[in-house]
Structure formats: C-alpha cells, structure tokens
C-alpha cells in the first residue's frame, strides 16, 4: 500500500464567474496510495469536487502535474483520455447519475460496452456487480422505481463492474437518509478492503470521514491532513 497511485504536484485551478476569477486550488500537492480510502472534507467551495474532476480527467488544471495510474492526465486528450478513464476511473456521484431510460442492469452494463467483453459476459458481470451491492432482485427496475439508496448502490455497481483502479465518489451520501448512507459507506469500505480499490471520496458527512482510512481537510485550496 506504499505506491502512490495518484500524485498531484503544484496543481492550480481557477474559475471565472461573473467577470471574477475564483482561485479554487493553488499549488496543491497530494499523494494517494494504492488501496487507500481517502476522504476529502472541507467547506463548500474549498475545491474538493475540483480535485475529483482533475483526477478523473474531467477537468484540466491551469498549472501543475497530475499523475494517475501511471499517466500524466493533463497530457491525455480526446479518445485517449476517454479510453484511459474507462479503464482506470469509476465515478459515484451525489445525484447518482443513472441513465433514467435504462434499467439497473442496463445502467451497469453501459460502461462495459467499452470493454472487449462479449454480450453474455457483460450481462453476467453486471449481474454479479448488482449482486455484490445487494440489488440482484432489482435488475429490471428503472431508476425512478428505486429508492435513493438503491440508486446509489446501482451507481456503485456500475463503477465497480468496470474493475477500475480508482473509485471517485463525490458526496455519495449527500442525498441519502442515514440508514441508506450507512449502507453505501459500508459498501465502499468493503470494496476498499476486500477488492483493494483506491477510493477518493468528497464528503461533508463526518460519519463518512470516520469510515475512511485517511481524511484530508481542505480550506481555500490548501490541504491539511486530519486524523481518520
């Protein structure tokens, strides 16, 4: 668990809003090691989600270098970036972000279209992922037929089915009640421990922080280690 799978060096990011420049990250250095379950905490606007987007290559840094799973993400573009993301990154969002017209099974199968798996293999892998998150009996339900907690578990199954190197979770319990949130957190913890997945989770939830193996507190784009 000593190799850093994510390395951020001197990373800066600013956004323009209403003619004003908002410096979200300034010269950020951060390492995340293989198998870590890292919680990023801090007030709104401190740059937590920006870090996730930069790690996943959804956003570009204004300055600095980001190495993720052996690649300098900022040099990847277009189809190469998409392929790299499909192989290495799994996303879990606060708003679940399932495709509403597809069933749970189909949502999990969707990213598997990017793999060389056969149709039968894709179906089986998606079924397995849904079993893992305890939704084997909800395969044919559409998102609006599921509870928030179940939707989030489908989203985790979708991310997990691709067997990514890193799981990026943006406020995964933000829209859930306490019971559902606990189930989701327990699921993430199990994935980190049993499957040795690296998880980076943005959260305001103190209990979520307690589940993590390490907590980083962010304040105005500056990182401070905090006890897990």
């Amino acid at each position: 668990m000593n190799d850093p799978v994510i390395q951020m060096r001197g990373v800066s990011k600013a956004y323009r809003k209403g003619g004003q420049v908002l410096h979200v990250l300034e010269g950020l250095d951060m390492d995340v090691r293989v198998g870590e379950f890292l919680a990023l905490m801090g007030p709104s606007g401190s740059g937590k989600s920006t870090i996730l987007n930069l790690i996943g290559g959804l956003d570009d840094p204004d300055a600095g270098v980001i190495h993720v799973a052996g690649e300098d993400v900022s040099t990847l573009t277009g189809d190469r970036l998409a392929t790299w993301r499909a192989r290495n990154i799994g996303y879990v969002f606060q708003a679940f972000n399932l495709i509403p017209v597809l069933t749970a099974q189909e949502n999990v199968e969707l990213p598997l279209l990017l793999t060389p798996l056969s149709k039968a293999q894709r179906r089986e892998q998606a079924r397995y992922a849904l079993e893992i998150v305890g939704l084997g009996d909800r395969r044919d339900h559409r998102p609006k037929q599921l509870s928030g907690g179940q939707e989030q578990r489908v989203a985790i199954a979708r991310a997990f089915a691709m067997d990514p190197t890193i799981l990026l979770c943006d406020e995964p319990t933000g829209d859930l009640d306490r019971d559902s949130a606990d189930q989701v957190l327990e699921l993430l913890r199990r994935l980190a421990v049993e499957s040795n997945k690296t998880i980076v989770m943005v959260t305001h939830d103190l209990k979520a922080g307690e589940m993590a193996s390490r907590v980083l507190q962010l304040d105005k784009g500056v990182v401070e280690d905090a006890p897990a």
């Binding site: 989600s49 987007n53 996943g56 959804l58 956003d59 277009g78 189809d79 998409a82 392929t83 993301r85 499909a86 192989r87 990154i89 996303y91 969002f93 606060q94 708003a95 972000n97 399932l98 495709i99 509403p100 017209v101 597809l102 099974q105 189909e106 199968e109 969707l110 990213p111 598997l112 279209l113 990017l114 149709k119 894709r122 179906r123 998606a126 979708r158 691709m162 943006d170 406020e171």
Partner: protein
C-alpha cells in the same frame, strides 16, 4: 444491452412527441410523393408519346374546331398513313359534377392508330359495329361501376340535344392502356353518331373536329409531315398547327401554367418545414439529455458517441416517418387516381420518387441530428454533470 437499445429508449421516452415527429415526417413525405407524382405523371404522358403520331389543331386555339373537309386533304399528304377525327364532347355523366374526357372519333382507325389500347377479344369489333357504342377506360369503369352493356347517359354541354334529353351511349368495351401517354379515364365513341345528330338537328353545337390525329407511314419524319400540312393550310380557310403528340401533350401541361414548378416549390417548402421540426425535436431532446450524455463521458465514452447517438436517433425518426409516408403514398395510388382521374389520369408514384423520398429522409435526419450532435461533440462532462449536482 447495446447503444441501439439506448437510442430506442431515448427516442420513445416521450411517446407523444415521438409519435408527432414521426407523423409529421410521414405527412411531409406523403405530400412530397403526391406532389412529385402529379408532376411526373404529367411528364410521363409527354415522354411516352408515340413518335409516329402527329396532331393537327387550329392555329388559333385548341378550342376552335377544324373543318371536316380537311380530312381528305390531310390523308393525301405524303407520309400520312391514316387520319382520325377527334371531337371533344365535354359531356357530364348523369349529373353536372361528373366529368371525364369523351372524344368522338373514327372507330375503325382508332385501334390501328392507338395500339396502346388493349381490349378483351371481340369488344373492339362490338364497338365498331354499334353506332351508339363506346369504349371506356378501366379506371372510368371502376370509378362509376360501369360494365359492358351498361348505358352511359351524358348531359351535352357543348352539344346539347334539341329536346333537352341526355345523350345515350352503350359500353361495348373496357380498355386498358399499355403506356402512360394514353390514360384509362376516357370514353371514345363514334364521331358519326355526333355528326349525324348535328346534321339532323337532334343536337346543336359547332360542326367540325377538335383535332385530327395522324399516324405516319414508316420512314417519315413527324416534323416534315406536320410542316407540309401547315403549309397546305397556310392561306386558310383556317390555319392549322400540327405538332408531334409529345408536343401536343406538353401543350396541355403548359396550359396548367407553372403548376408543376409551383407544386415542387410547395413540396420543397413542406420538406424544409419538416427539417426544422426534426431539428426542434432533437434540440429539445438533446437539452433534456445533457446530463445523460455527461454521464456517458464520465464513464469513458468519447465525445463522438453522444454525437452519433443523436444522428442515428434523428435519422431513425426521419426514416420511420418516411417509410410510413411512402407506404401511404403507395397504398393511396389507386384512390387518388380515381379522385383526380380527370385531371391526372395516369397518376402513379414513380419508383424514382420512392428513391428520392428515401434520400430526403436520410438527409433530413442527418440535418436534424447535426445540431445536437455538434453541440454534443463540444460538450464538457463536468459542465453537464454540474447541472445535476
């Protein structure tokens, strides 16, 4: 699970909108086929005209009759094989609103001049033998449910009967046409029947014939024979204008003014409107799906995938509607031929019209999908996901 399923699910996620879009395309394509078929049917009559027939009409107007005495003189012109009088009768079947074309002609020469007319055995002879007999096209027979032996009462308009009674003809034959230049919505009867009634005073109206139809001997050029006839009557008593059958048919089309151009312009306007319709539908759909497309990008799909999804979906809408529109055009051919039989006797949707409809559907779909596809190709996943967070 495949992307095709995702496209179908997205397309039918709003069934009413999808149905209306497909329906609008279907109506537009049907209208295109219909309007184009009017033009091509009229053109076909011109293009398929026989090259060995020429038509002599009054140089003044098509509505001016030519003297009957011209027949013998025309027959004597070098290159003429046979001459038939064709008198436009203009009658109404039973009621004033029932109109179709009727010509008084020389029955014996009609069949040698028009090998396009095909009748069951014995019917041509039966027609020739009956002074009040007539032959009618199969389209006419079907429209008015007429059979051989039925009486066809006609109200004389150009040639009313002196006692105000109706003209009476007997159906002796029902013909089919081998070519588009001869329609199946016309009635031919004996010129003598009309002329004798005028002679005896049973009827009144202009004496003479509307046109002379001339069949050429082999080896003679229509232009030369036509020029010889027109030269002969250059000094009167009434000048002639003799032209090929194709040119004569084209004159009829030209009498409609710029109608073909007008119809095609309407057709194009309808298609442009439907392109806007599809662009509108797809733009709304694309806006609703920004987040879904952002999710796909975050999952590792390249930007070209959402773009292709929109293009395929829009083309799918256009093709589905197009198939429905083409099917409608195909299935209504018979009914439209009956409805517009008098104006466009050989109304047919040509095979090239179907090809054009398919091409238009594909182009319409691609244009319709191009706008959201272009937007999708420039989309940033973070921006789209942020909308939902």
């Amino acid at each position: 699970m495949n992307l095709g399923r995702l496209i179908r699910r997205h397309a039918w996620s709003h069934p009413v909108r999808a149905f209306l879009t497909v329906g609008a395309v279907a109506v537009a394509i049907f209208l295109f086929c219909f309007l184009r078929s009017i033009v091509t049917s009229l053109d076909a009559a011109v293009k398929e005209s026989a090259s060995n027939r020429i038509v002599a009409a009054s140089a003044v107007s098509l509505f001016q009759s030519l003297p009957l005495a011209y027949k013998e003189a025309i027959e004597a012109v070098d290159g003429v094989e046979s001459v038939s009088r064709f008198a436009w009768f203009g009658g109404r079947y039973k009621k004033p609103e029932n109109f179709f074309a009727q010509f008084g002609c020389d029955a014996r020469t009609l069949f040698s001049q028009y090998p396009e007319l095909v009748l069951p055995e014995g019917q041509a002879e039966a027609f020739i033998a009956d002074r009040t007999g007539a032959i009618i096209g199969i389209g006419l027979a079907e429209k008015y449910d007429l059979k051989v032996g039925d009486e066809v009462p006609l109200i004389g308009t150009i040639y009313p009967r002196a006692d105000r009674s109706m003209w009476s003809f007997t159906v002796r034959g029902i013909y089919r046409s081998k070519r588009a230049n001869v329609d199946e919505m016309t009635m031919y009867f004996h010129f003598h029947y009309l002329d004798e009634a005028l002679e005896s005073g049973e009827s009144y109206g202009p004496r003479g014939t509307s046109v002379y139809l001339i069949r050429l001997q082999d080896g003679y050029r229509g232009e030369d024979v036509a020029a010889a006839i027109d030269r002969y009557y250059e000094g009167g008593p009434q000048r002639t204008r003799t032209q090929s059958e194709a040119a004569f048919q084209a004159d009829f089309v030209n009498m409609l003014g710029n109608l073909p151009t007008f119809l095609m312009m309407i057709g194009m306007a309808v298609l442009i409107a439907i392109v806007f319709g599809i662009v509108n539908t797809m733009t709304i759909a694309a806006r609703e799906r920004l987040r879904s497309m952002g999710i796909m990008l975050s999952l590792g799909f390249s930007r070209s995938v959402p773009a292709r999804l929109y293009l395929v979906e829009a083309t799918g809408f256009a093709l589905t509607g197009g198939v429905a529109g083409v099917a409608l055009a195909f299935l209504t051919q018979g009914a439209l031929r009956k409805t517009f039989g008098t104006q466009i006797p050989m109304y047919t949707v040509a095979s090239e019209t179907y090809v054009w409809a398919a091409v238009i559907c594909v182009i319409t779909g691609l244009i319709g999908g191009a706008v959201p596809a272009w937007q999708a190709s420039r989309m940033e996943a973070v921006e789209q996901l942020r909308r939902g967070i």
